[in-house]
Amino acid sequence: MDFILEHLLTLILFTPVLAAAVVFILPREEENLIRWVSFLLSFIPFALSIALWLQFDASKSGFQFEEKAIWYAAINSSYHVGVDGVSLTMVLLTTLLTPLSILASFTIRDRVKSYMILFFLLEMGMLGVFLSLDLLLFFVFWEFGLVPMYFLINQWGSEKGEREIWGGRKIPARQYASFKFMVYTMAGSLGLLLAIQMLGVVSGTFDMPTLFERWTSLDQSLFGLPISTVKSIAFWAFAIAFALKVPVWPFHTWLPDAHTEAPTAGSMILAGVLLKLGAYGFLRLVLPLYPVEAHLYAGALGFLAVMAIIFGALASYGQDDFKRLVAYSSVNHMGFVVLGIAAAGFAAGTENAIIALNGAVLQMFNHGLSAAGMFFLVGVIYERAHTRNLNDFGGLFPLIPVYGGVLIFTSMASLGLPGLGGFVSEFLVVRGVWPIFTLYTALAMIGLFFTGAYVLKAIKQVLHGPLNERWTGHISEINARELFVIAPLMVLMLWIGVWPAWILEVINRAVSMLF
């Protein structure tokens, strides 16, 4: 037992790999066995994170459950993991969404084994990012997570659709989307990679706590350039990499493609966790490493965030494809996260900043729940109707009342209806940012208005209006397995909406320590 407690983080991080190994040795033909084994195994990390949550002492500052082992001694990088409130929340989100996504993937028929292995590797990659306290290790997991996601989209994405590329050649849309996802993200990480290398060279360590001190206190000139210039360039290298992942306007164009083409569970994880990696990067690295630059450029970042909120909402409203609509809504919602972070960077240390950050982190968690839920629900109806075009639906409520109820509930959470999770976090963000960036906040309200518009549009197109006759008798009610996927999400949305203190307590302590 002591062993488990002492190595809790390592266990959480690598049990998915063990699970992948177990799945690997199962016979390929036994698809059901593979599904169930994967599903059950995915609860181990979840259970461990619950244990972590319970053991976590929210009143203590700094990192807990730290572990350190030799990894790459020659360049002073080590296996160093630890959690604080922010990463703990994200770990919980990840380990929660993984079993649900696996359950949602039970309809996958093609190469179940490879699919499950990739899924576990993806989980490990994401957890690694949240747990790393070593910059190099952070990057290792950051990049590594791309690979399984790429294959999930590329191989198990939607089979329909073609995209024309240059030269008039047509390729399957999922190939296009996965390629775009991979290259965008890799190109984005390139600056990050270079900046990390530069930091490592200059500071002689990759250990984050040490780095936070050494790098920020650096004041001699570097490479013949004034230190402020070097730091500004490095700041943007980090910021762009993370902004791409979030994604912030105008770096978001990979996202609708990737989300639309990914398999349902892939979209759930993509929206639920992967986007949070970017925001987490801002919190964990950008704010502590570049307090001065963050203050300096917060305005620009905040502007991009507001653009993301407004354009995300407008674009979302303009979609006819249900999944694309939800995808753009992610741009919109993640905009609030970045807005909160930008404001906090501008007014570091103030009470408003802390409120904004609380909101941002909670919004990350909430969006993880609601976006995963929304994508899942889109997937549910797509599997039945084999179309995602909103114009083809209509008046389905009488046919599938339970599904309709669930959809409305989840949409409302996404919309930010008071009483549900989304409201609490968006309120906190807006409350925190208003005194700092008043104009931006006001503009963001316009975005919020359109959020309401597109969510209601979706509900109207699918559930209300005249019944499209072709669905009569062809569309079935949501089944038990699917309900089991969505139910925990709904419970959490409601729980946070009604009583957010249990989670804010953990987050609050951590974000006030970020400065």
């Binding site: 030799i70 990894w71 790459y72 001694a73 020659a74 360049i75 190099l136 990057f139 290792v140 997991f141 950051w142 990049e143 590594f144 791309l146 690979v147 790429y150 590329n154 191989q155 190939q175 390629f179 991979m182 290259v183 890799m186 190109a187 390139l190 990679l193 270079l194 290398q197 530069m198 490592g200 060279v201 490479f223």
Partner: protein, 490 residues
Amino acid sequence: MQFPILSLIVFTPLVAGLLILLIPAERKNEVRVAAIAAGAIALILSTWVYFSYDIAAGGYQFVEKYTWLPALGISYHVGLDGMNAPLVLLTGVVMFTGVLISWGIDDRPREFFAFLFILATGVFGVFVALDLFMLFFFYEIAVFPMYLLISIWGWQVTREYAAMKLTLYLFVGSVIALVGALAMYFTSGLNTFDMLALEQAGFSAAFQRFWFPFVFFGFAVLGGIFPFHNWSPDGHVAAPTAVSMFHAGVLMKLGAFAALRVGIMLLPEGAKVHLPWIILLTLVNVVYGAFIASVQNDFKYVIGFSSVSHMGLVAMGFATLNREGLLGAGVQMFSHGVMTALFFAVVGMVYDQAHTREIPRLGGFRKVMPIVAVAFIIGGLVSMGMPGFSGFIAEFPIFMGVWRAYPWVAIVAAISIVITASYIIRIVGKVFFGEMPEEFAHHVHDVSVLDKVALVVLSAILIVVGVYPQIMVPLVETGVNNVLRLLGGV
């Protein structure tokens, strides 16, 4: 006297090759089994010696020294240090896997394996040599079987041209370096070819400045340095699979290693003067190589040019002359060797089935050969420097070293990562996924068990080093410290 393990490693392939020549030509299966056995022995010995190296003690270990030609101070002098130990292991690995995947060679397998093993002896000899003469001796031994291997068993369209081009390029390089080596020998006045003694010779700065380019480029030709890289893609493409593996996997390291061992370590002052501009050439290697690779349509040319790009990183690491750069270059030599051997093995397997290497004509090979597809993907991830694989472990410190020395070079070189990623993804998508063209649908089948074993061995090494760099890095570090000592700073 201790057990002469290094000599055993050097001469095992040679003896095996000669024994194989004694087997009657018709008994091809016996030839193959004997070859695999020899490969396994070489692998076991080199693995054993790799792990027996005492990192705490450092320096040259397992040293053997016998006089060879006392009149000129030539000796047979071998030793293992942190720089060459991974390369010895690499050679063992490539030799074993190369033999495994060559089971299908049906035209004079006896001669094929004999030549391949002579080549292996040359390679082992260069890596462990501590005597300048001996280094050249084995260097040439490693070069000339290549000609026969490529021209006899190679791809019929270009083999004659490519084999000749390759041999002449390498020979030119090596003999020019040889003149430099002779100049060092006579100028030192020590009457010895022993490199450990020549390291202390204290050549004048002017002498070093003059001779360094001859020696460095003479060897670096084999390392594929721009603008002398031209032979390499042609050679890779024309060579039969196992030879491509050897060639890109091990022989190119031979050039890089010798450029370090003789050029930089014996002429450190010259290195300091010239490497600052040579790094620009390596930059061309890295970026241009990747770019050219991305526009190729022939599967094997893609890999060939990617080798140019990656070997450029090795040279770039050397050119930094600092700890991180050299360390990364040392690991990169190993990592790239294994990776490219894997690549060429995969290309060979695809070609054997499809009889074409034109990427646009291929497709859907995952369905028939899943393990090959996975192996290629792993190699591809290594190639694009994906964390978690050995390529990252190697390239990261190289870039750090470049940052320390020439920050702008690092920024430009990084472009290659994205280019590499894009062409690797393109190939994976086109060749292994997608629809299999009708023409292949019926006659393509999965690879043999031996092929799979080879792929698994290579892939596993790439992952192990990537996940647990401590298995190699501290060792290389001791070697790097030795180089730094000669460069005048620790």
